[in-house]
Structure formats: C-alpha cells, structure tokens
C-alpha cells in the first residue's frame, strides 16, 4: 500500500529530474555532438556549433532550460506489474510536471484542446502525455521523460503503404520527410523509423526508435545495417546544423519494427532536434532511484 510520504517523495524526485533534463543534455547526445562538431568543416556550420556548445555551457552555469521550447512533457513508463505506486503514477507524473514547470521554469506549452486556451500550468487533457508499458512481473519501474519542442515534432508522421511499395516506398517516405521538413527541426537530428502494421503502431515504434540511446544498434543484423545505410544516405545530403549545409544531417538513425499484415507496411517517422532532451530514471519498490541517462547528476 502506497503511503502519502512515498507519493510525495516520487513527485519530488521526478519533478527535479524533469527540471534537470530541461537544462542538461544526456550523455549520449553530448558525446555525439562533440564527435560531429570536430568533423565539421564548413565555416557557417562551425559558427553554429560554437554557439550550440556555448549555449550548453551557459544553460548549466546559469541553471536555465537549454532551449526556450521545453515542449509538452511526455513520459514513457516501463513498469513491472508489481511496482507498488503503479496506481498512483499518473497523478505523480502530473504533479511532477507542475513542480518542474515552476522550478525550472519551463515554458507554458499546454494549449487545451477545443477551447484553444493555454492552461497556464503545462498540464491539460492527457498532458503530460504518458505511454504505459508493463514489461515484466518485477516491482521496479523505469521512467523516461522527453521534452519535444514544436519544431522537431512537426516532421513526425506515419503512412501505411501497400506491399508492392515495400521497403523502397518506406525509404522514399523517410528521405522525403527529412529533406522537406527536417531543416526547421534543428539538425543534426535523431531520426526514429518504425516499421509497423498500422499507422499508430508504426508511429509508436518510431518514437521508441528515436528515444533509444545514440550509439546503440538494433539487435537484428538487417535492421542494424538498415540504420547504418539510412544514416549514411541522409548524411550525404549534408543538411548541416540548422540546415545551413555542412558535413552531416543526423546524429543517429534508429529503426524499430514488428511483424505486420501481409497486405500492408506501416512506416512511422519521429524526429528529435540536436537539443535532444530525454532522460531515464529507475526506481525500485522502496523508491531508491538511479539515473541512467545523465551520469554524475544528483537531484
């Protein structure tokens, strides 16, 4: 049975974690940006990388959100069936969002649907957005927070292709989407591609792919090769940072997939900007926690 003290503690910890994620980029993103910065040769692109790194430093020293668009707060919950606060978690995540909005402060980005009025609290109907997954029978939970700005949410889309369009059609959809929409999504981008059986399964898989840590590959050798080839293809286009043109277009391309109906191939795309603010925190049943994405951070 969850106590009031436990609920309050979890609100406090997650609220502080959401605050940190808005200000400090995760380890995987930092490592990749440093790698791409060194590779860059175009003069204007180098100027942009310099400002990006100056901004990363200033956000930390001044304790401010790295980008003014702190997004709609999204949580991806991967829980064991026996995590004791599972029933309270929706309320906890909502309260944590309100707390982080005040402490960071985050931009007020929740516009209530139908009335089209900003709620002024960063929460609203189905916001924070929560994706639930029961992964096993344990009493632990892993929570991933993601702060997607409007710019990098805009290219997101999914399509259901007929079988004869196949993987060629899927690639056309990916390349067209990134070139038509990627420039304003703040490249270098993280591109998530989902191969599913309908529009929502493809979209969800693309989001999971985008959130996978940079530097990891899909366990299936063909999917891993696909990730590499798409990454090379998109980098050959040379969008550069901010689409100013340069050496690379993307930080990573990740693909996730599932078995699908023989008559369809669903393809989803989710794009993350260079200021890719995602963070993973794990709790055990006693609410001891470990931060996975940001080593050395204390809340």
């Amino acid at each position: 049975m969850a106590t009031f003290g436990q609920t309050t503690k979890m609100v406090d910890v997650i609220g502080k974690f959401v605050d940190v994620v808005s200000k400090k980029l995760p380890d995987d993103v930092m490592a990749k940006l440093e790698e791409l910065r060194v590779q860059e040769e175009a003069p204007l692109a180098k100027v942009i990388y310099d400002v990006m790194f100056d901004n990363i430093d200033k956000a930390l020293t001044l304790n401010r959100p790295t980008c003014q668009d702190t997004g709609v707060i999204q949580f991806f919950v991967r829980s064991g069936a026996k995590f004791p606060l599972l029933g309270q978690l929706r309320g906890i995540l909502r309260e944590a969002t309100i707390a982080a909005t005040k402490s960071a402060p985050l931009r007020l980005n929740a516009v209530e649907v139908f009335d089209e009025v900003n709620t002024g609290t960063n929460v609203g109907t189905e916001v924070p957005f929560i994706e639930w997954e029961i992964v096993d029978d344990s009493s632990n939970v892993e929570i991933e927070v993601y702060q997607a700005g409007g710019g990098c949410s805009l290219p997101g889309r999914s399509i259901v292709l007929p079988p004869l369009a196949g993987y060629e059609g899927a690639m056309k959809f990916v390349f067209d989407t990134i070139v038509d929409w990627g420039i304003n999504a703040c490249p270098p981008l993280v591109v998530g591609v989902g191969i599913g059986t309908c529009s929502n399964s493809a979209a969800l898989l693309s989001k999971k792919a985008m959130l996978r840590p940079i530097g990891t590959s899909h366990p299936h050798p063909k999917a891993a090769a696909m990730e590499k080839k798409i990454e090379e293809g998109l980098n050959a286009i040379g969008l550069g940072p901010q689409g100013i043109s340069g050496k690379n277009s993307v930080m990573a391309v990740h693909v996730e997939g599932m078995a699908h109906h023989p008559s369809v191939l669903g393809v989803g795309i989710t794009v993350g900007c260079w200021a890719n603010r995602h963070g993973v925190i794990r709790f055990d049943e006693n609410l001891n926690y470990e931060i996975i994405s940001h080593k050395g951070v204390n809340l």
């Binding site: 990006m52 931009r107 710019g151 390349f175 420039i183 900007c273």
Partner: protein, 204 residues
C-alpha cells in the same frame, strides 16, 4: 571585427548586407510570431510601439516575473516559415528592417525584403540561453492575452547574435538555394540507399 547594426537601422546598412554575412544587433528587438503577424496584417491592428526601422524576432520566450518587471530566461528562434504568408505585408506596413528567426523564408518574403529594403537573418536554433544573455532588459509587453510564447515582448539587446543573413535586399535566398542542392543530393542518396536495403531484405 563584429559588424553591429544599431536601431534605428538605416536602409544603407541593410543594403550593404549579403547572404552568408554574420552581423549582430544592438537596440530594440521585439518578439512577433504567428498571432502577432495575424493581428497586424489580417486584422490591421498595430501595436502601440512604433516598429519603424527596428527588428523583430520570431520567438516565444520563457520569461520570469520579477519585481518591477520581467527576466528573460530563455529565448531562441522559432520556425520563420510559419510567418511566410504575412511577412511581406508586415514589412510594408511596419517598416521593420530586420527579421530574425530560424530556417529560411520563401519567395514572397524575399520579394518583400527587396521592396521594403529589409533582410531576414537566422539565429542558431535551440540556443535560447545565449540569446537571453544578450537581452539587456525587457522594456515592455503588449498583447499579453496571447500568452507567454505569443505575446509581443519589447527588448533592449546588446550585440545580439550571431545573425546569419539568409535573405538580402537583392533577392538572394540562402536556404532556398540550399534546398535545391539538398533535393538533388536526396535523389541520389535515396536511390542508392533504397537499392541496398531492398536487396538486403530480399536475402533470407
């Protein structure tokens, strides 16, 4: 040597700028994005502040209320292309000389820049803290009913930048030119990638 534009900005200073130049801005900068453009152009309502020869920023900031005013926390650019529908008329109506945003703008805005002697420039996206540090003071706020991101924030800035000129007064358009190159390279890259992936999937 930093090239600094100071408001009120002269036509001569604007005409001397070419795409790819890097400049900085000192003086008055106001935020104006979707709702502000719609109000000025579609509804014909002007803000109280005269906009002649100053600069606008396509941006929705995080602002903190403090005693006797506001503090700029984070202010990076938003996608300029969203304002493409109205920018040409906006320039003609207001006399704004410098439009700052993210990504490029289209042919209609390029025409507007030529006719109204104005330029479009980009500030690196996602760098809201660097930009906020170049804001000396928030001097005022109009249209608060639009909410924090859309309100019309009036700022005094010092050497605000780097600003990369993306549309100049001669009709040159950096991002539209880039796009032509990107699309050509895309055709080659897509065909090669798709061919390799299709043949890889076919092998079982």
């Amino acid at each position: 040597m930093k090239k600094v534009l100071t408001t009120p900005i002269s036509d001569e200073a604007i005409k001397s700028l070419k795409v790819g130049d890097i400049v900085y801005l000192s003086g008055t900068l106001v935020t104006c994005r979707d709702e502000g453009h719609r109000r000025v152009v579609a509804e014909g309502i002007m803000p109280k502040l005269p906009l002649d020869r100053i600069a606008i920023f396509h941006a929705g900031p995080i602002v903190k209320d403090v005693e006797n005013g506001w503090e700029m926390v984070s202010i990076g650019p938003t996608t300029s292309m969203r304002m493409e529908r109205y920018e040409k008329e906006f320039l003609a109506k207001t006399g704004v000389k410098l439009v700052i945003g993210k990504g490029g703008m289209g042919a209609k805005t390029a025409e507007g820049c030529k006719e109204s002697t104005a330029v479009h420039a980009v500030f690196p996206g996602g760098c809201g803290v660097v930009a906020a540090e170049e804001v000396e003071k928030i001097e005022g706020k109009e249209w608060p009913e639009f909410g924090m991101p859309e309100a019309f924030w009036i700022m005094k800035v010092k050497e605000f930048g780097p600003l990369i000129i993306s549309i100049d007064t001669e009709g040159n358009n950096l991002f539209e030119n880039n796009k032509i190159g990107f699309h050509q390279k895309k055709e080659v890259a897509f065909k090669e990638t798709a061919k390799e992936i299709v043949s890889m999937i076919a092998k079982s």
